[in-house]
């Protein structure tokens, strides 16, 4: 009490009753515990729940990073923002008695107000004389007493910490279960939750091998999408689905090899394929694109060396390439798009039937495949050797987009055998006669599939009469591949002149030959032509035969003309009006046609007669008189064919004219008959003249032959006389080699002459049998009686034994005899000639004929000289080819 009296002005506080104080402290403690628990549990729940959200979302789709980030922020925000706020609100905001009293007042308003009043009373600082401490204490006690019976726990706000606890436990359990039971998925989700912006791929229970997220498919073509399930996939769904854009889904069952193969119909628009396999979800962008095509393809053919041909580039449009065996074929192609790869399959096929000589096995070798070099849009196949086996080359390619080529390119390489060349002779008959000095011209044409190397001609002679001479045998190169750019065809005009090539009269078989480039390839030959190179006598005999034929036909033409004449006369006898009747007109028409036909025949005969005259001129041994007669006959035939007979024809045509009066018709017919009469007379004259010429011709051939035999004997004698000093009295063995050779040649010449004389006798016999001319019989008898042929043969032996003196005498003797016989034949001819030629007489016409004959002969001779010059030039050029084979 003393203490209180010493300080009367100091305010005095009354403490809360202990019981009340304890009650409030307990209440506050309980409040704080609950609210802190709520804050912590809520934070944990947020974290666990956000993890589970990510886990859950990942199970149905690949949760994007942004979503995962949002979930994470949402989850952690409970811890970071909500918990502090909650603690601040409930812990910091309810630390004092008045704050607690207000909270209690929410549940117990009266009590709360009293408690709040007690707390207020406790804080009063008025002077002791203003407020009685005892009163305040009594009031407090009173309230404490009242509060003592109350349970403040009931005044606590509604608490959710138990719910939160359960929620946390539940989420924890779920998360724990995820981590325990599906640890890969749980950990993957945890990683993706903790680090939402990392590129951790989403874990799926169904796991596929890696595949491209973009694919290029063939435009408008159905395509497959194959996805392989990973071996370590936790889930192996038996079925998967895929959908192209908004199109109906396509299903695929898991096959034994772990593949899902989705087949899509052809697509034209770019879109995505959405794939659902188990929990795996994928999207692939698809770009339909046209397949790459080959825009150009060419083969580079390298021929075998022996062909000496340059490389050849062939554009391949067809699927077959014929190539000569032993070549190589390279391929070059340009695609429509840049290429990634290309390959070639070479499949040899069974042997071609056209290759019988092939040494290759009939069974084809196994196919081979090789990859090809590609550069941008081009592909290159290396050189493929061409064997006897045909081969099928299959080219395939893939572009940089992975698309295979639109259809593979197949090329069949057909091996071709280098065929033998072919060669022809053109521009000449299969058989031909000619004089030694003549030149025949023809063409030689050689062809070969891969080039003609050389063409030429070969000849083989054959004597038609026994002789010791060696038959001609030779060849002439005409042209080679260096002469032309067209290797497959080589041609040359040939001027074949026997005298230029030193070929004596004989039968000659000529063949053209061609060589190609095949090593050891044999020559190819043409069909042969046969040329009979005639002596002048033989030629004259041939002309004689031709002349015989022409005369025969001329006589025939005259007979026809006579028949026409007779019929025309019959028509003339008809009465005038009847001549214009149909029947007569038909007959006149037939007469006109018959006349026209005969005119044609006459023209043809005239042409042949002209040819004969030319040949006779060429022969040079037919006497001038005979030639003149031939020329006259020819001229008359030409007049008949070109002038006289057409006039008859015209008159006959006029007589049929319907506009003519009967008198006029008759007059025309009479005119025709008159003209025809002249024609017949002229024909008769021509026949007579031709027959006379023919007789002279034939006789002159004997004369000439006899004269030539005489001159041969003279030349033998002359040659022996020239060498008489060195050969007389010598044995053949002792002679100088040059003289020995001379003796041999002269002996041979004698043999030939003996043979000629023998033929003259034989021909005379035949001639007499036909003409029955006494002179020929006499001559034949004389010759046979003289045994001239045997005598000349005997003389040959003498010459061979070098009995020179006697040989000279005998040669001279027989030369004289032969000339006598020729003169004997000439004698009667002079007389006959005078009679035959009497009609024409000598005059300016004869001069003209003679001039023309001379000119013809000159032209003929100059033409021969020209042809032989050409033949010589050809020979000279061929020498160049021999020198440089």
């Amino acid at each position: 009490m003393a203490a209180d009296s010493s300080s009367p002005s100091k305010p005095k506080q009354t403490p809360l009753p202990e019981s009340l104080k304890e009650q409030l402290t307990g209440f506050r403690s309980q409040l704080w515990k609950i609210k802190v628990a709520e804050a912590v549990l809520c934070g944990f729940f947020g974290l666990l729940a956000s993890y589970l959200v990510v886990f859950g979302l990942d199970r149905v789709w690949a949760t994007p990073a942004t979503v995962r980030l949002a979930v994470l922020i949402g989850g952690t925000s409970l811890f970071v923002f909500f918990a502090p706020y909650w603690i601040h609100r409930w812990v910091f905001g309810h630390r004092r008695e008045d704050q607690l009293a207000r909270l209690i007042a929410r549940r117990f308003p009266k009590l709360g107000d009293r408690l709040l009043g007690v707390v207020e009373l406790q804080r009063q600082n008025e002077a002791e004389e203003l407020l009685s401490p005892e009163l305040r204490a009594a009031a407090m006690k009173n309230v404490a007493k009242e509060a003592k019976g109350r349970d403040f726990v009931q005044a606590l706000p509604a608490s959710r910490h138990r719910s939160w606890s359960l929620a946390v436990l539940a989420t924890f359990a779920v998360a724990g279960a995820a981590l325990v039971f599906v640890p890969k998925a749980g950990l993957n989700a945890l990683k993706r939750w903790i680090m939402p912006l990392s590129d951790t791929p989403r874990y799926t229970f169904t796991r596929l091998e890696d595949f491209s997220k973009h694919m290029v498919v063939p435009y408008g073509e159905s395509f497959d999408l194959a996805l392989k399930l990973r071996d370590d996939s936790d889930n192996r769904p038996p079925l998967g689905t895929a959908r192209y854009g908004a199109q109906p889904a396509v299903e695929s069952a898991l096959d034994d090899s772990g593949l899902y193969v989705f087949s899509f119909p052809g697509q034209q628009a770019q879109d995505f394929i959405t794939i659902h396999i188990g929990d795996a979800r994928h999207r692939i962008s698809v770009e339909p694109t046209l397949r790459p095509t080959v825009e150009s393809l060419s083969a580079v053919v390298t021929y075998p060396e022996y062909l000496e041909l340059p490389e050849k580039r062939i554009d391949l449009r067809a699927g077959v390439l014929p190539v000569v065996v032993d070549s190589t074929v390279g391929l070059e192609a340009t695609a429509s798009r840049e290429l990634q790869s290309a390959s070639l399959v070479n499949r040899p096929l069974p042997l071609h039937e056209g290759l019988p000589d092939s040494e290759a096995s009939p069974e084809p070798p196994p196919p081979s495949e090789s990859s090809l070099r590609v550069h941008k849009r081009k592909l290159f196949a290396p050189a493929i050797p061409v064997t006897a086996h045909p081969a099928e080359l299959t080219l395939s390619w893939t572009d940089v987009l992975g698309l295979e080529g639109a259809g593979r390119f197949r090329l069949r390489v057909d091996p071709v055998v280098d065929q033998a060349p072919s060669v022809y002779i053109q521009g000449i008959d299969r058989q031909r006669v000619m004089l030694e000095e003549e030149t025949v011209e023809f063409d030689v044409l050689g062809e070969d599939d891969f080039g003609v190397k050389r063409i030429g001609i070969e000849w083989r002679g054959q004597f038609t009469k026994p002789t010791d001479e060696t038959p001609a045998n030779g060849e002439l190169a005409l042209a080679d591949s260096g002469d032309t750019s067209d290797l497959q065809r080589l041609s040359e005009e040939v001027a074949f002149s026997p005298s230029t090539l030193g070929i004596s009269p004989q039968k000659l078989i000529i063949r053209a030959y061609a060589e190609d480039f095949r090593p050891d390839g044999p020559r190819a030959y043409s069909d042969p032509i046969t040329i009979f190179i005639l002596t002048r006598d033989e030629h004259a005999q041939l002309l004689k035969n031709t002349f015989d034929g022409i005369i025969g036909e001329l006589e025939d033409a005259a007979r026809r003309e006579q028949n026409n004449f007779d019929e025309n006369q019959r028509l003339e006898r008809l009465e005038d009006p009847k001549l214009q009747e149909d029947e007569a007109r038909d007959r006149l028409q037939q007469q006109e046609a018959a006349e026209a036909e005969n005119t044609e025949r006459m023209q043809d005969l005239a042409r042949r007669m002209e040819e004969l005259l030319k040949d006779a001129v060429r022969n040079g041994e037919i006497d001038k008189e005979t030639m003149t007669k031939i020329a006259r006959a020819m001229q008359k035939m030409q007049e008949l064919g070109n002038q006289d007979m057409p006039e008859v024809e015209q008159s006959l045509r006029d007589s049929q004219d319907q506009r003519s009066t009967p008198d006029q018709s008759k007059k025309d017919l009479q005119e025709a008959i008159e003209k025809q009469k002249d024609v017949l007379e002229k024909m008769q004259e021509t026949i007579e003249e031709a027959n006379e010429a023919n007789r002279n011709f034939e006789a002159s051939t004997f004369i000439n032959r006899l004269k030539r035999a005489a001159s041969e004997e003279d030349s033998i004698a002359a040659a022996l006389i020239d060498s008489i000093n060195s050969i007389i009295g010598m044995s053949v063995e002792g002679l100088d080699p040059a003289d020995q050779r001379l003796i041999g040649e002269l002996s041979m010449q004698q043999r030939r002459t003996a043979s000629d004389v023998r033929w003259i006798q034989e021909d005379l016999g035949h001639f007499y049998a036909r003409t029955q001319k006494e002179i020929h019989k006499e001559l034949l008898t004389e010759m046979q009686a003289s045994h001239v042929d045997t005598a000349l043969d005997d003389n040959r032996e003498r010459i061979a034994e070098n009995q020179s003196y006697k040989s000279i005498a005998i040669c001279k003797q027989w030369a004289e005899q032969l000339r006598e016989w020729a003169a004997k034949l000439e004698g009667p001819k002079d007389g006959g000639g005078g009679g035959g030629g009497g009609g024409g007489g000598a005059g300016p016409n004869d001069d003209d004929f003679e001039f023309m004959l001379k000119v013809m002969r000159m032209i003929q001779k100059e033409q021969d000289i020209r042809s032989r010059t050409r033949a010589l030039e050809q020979l000279r050029r061929s020498l160049g080819q021999i020198a440089t084979p």
Binding site: F851, V855, E862, T869, I882
Partner: protein, 117 residues
């Protein structure tokens, strides 16, 4: 193969090849001779024909025919010289053709004159 045999084989081959070469050379020589002889023979024939032309000129009275035949004779002399020097080439053949043409021309002139008289 032993070296000795190799040498013999090579020698034989060389000899064979040389033989082929010689044969070709001989054929060329023979052909050349044939050409020369033939050319000279033709020169002779051309000369003879030239003499015939000369005879024919003497028989003629018409100036233009004589003129043509004289030209023919001249060209024939030219051809004879060419052939004598073994020139059988294009110019010689062309000259021969000209001869033929001119003889034809002379014949035509002559026949025209005969027809006219």
């Amino acid at each position: 193969m032993r070296p000795g045999i190799k040498i013999i084989t090579a020698a034989l081959l060389a000899a064979a090849m040389a033989g082929v070469g010689i044969a070709d050379e001989e054929a060329a020589k023979e052909g050349l001779k044939k050409h020369e002889v033939g050319s000279q023979k033709l020169a002779g024939e051309q000369d003879e024909l030239s003499a015939d032309v000369q005879d024919l000129i003497e028989e003629q009275t018409a100036e233009d025919v004589i003129g043509l035949l004289e030209e023919v004779e001249e060209i024939m002399a030219e051809v004879t010289t060419s052939l004598d020097t073994f020139d059988t080439g294009g110019p010689t053949i062309a000259a021969e053709t000209e001869i033929i043409e001119k003889i034809f021309e002379a014949a035509r002139k002559r026949s025209q004159q005969s027809g006219g008289t």
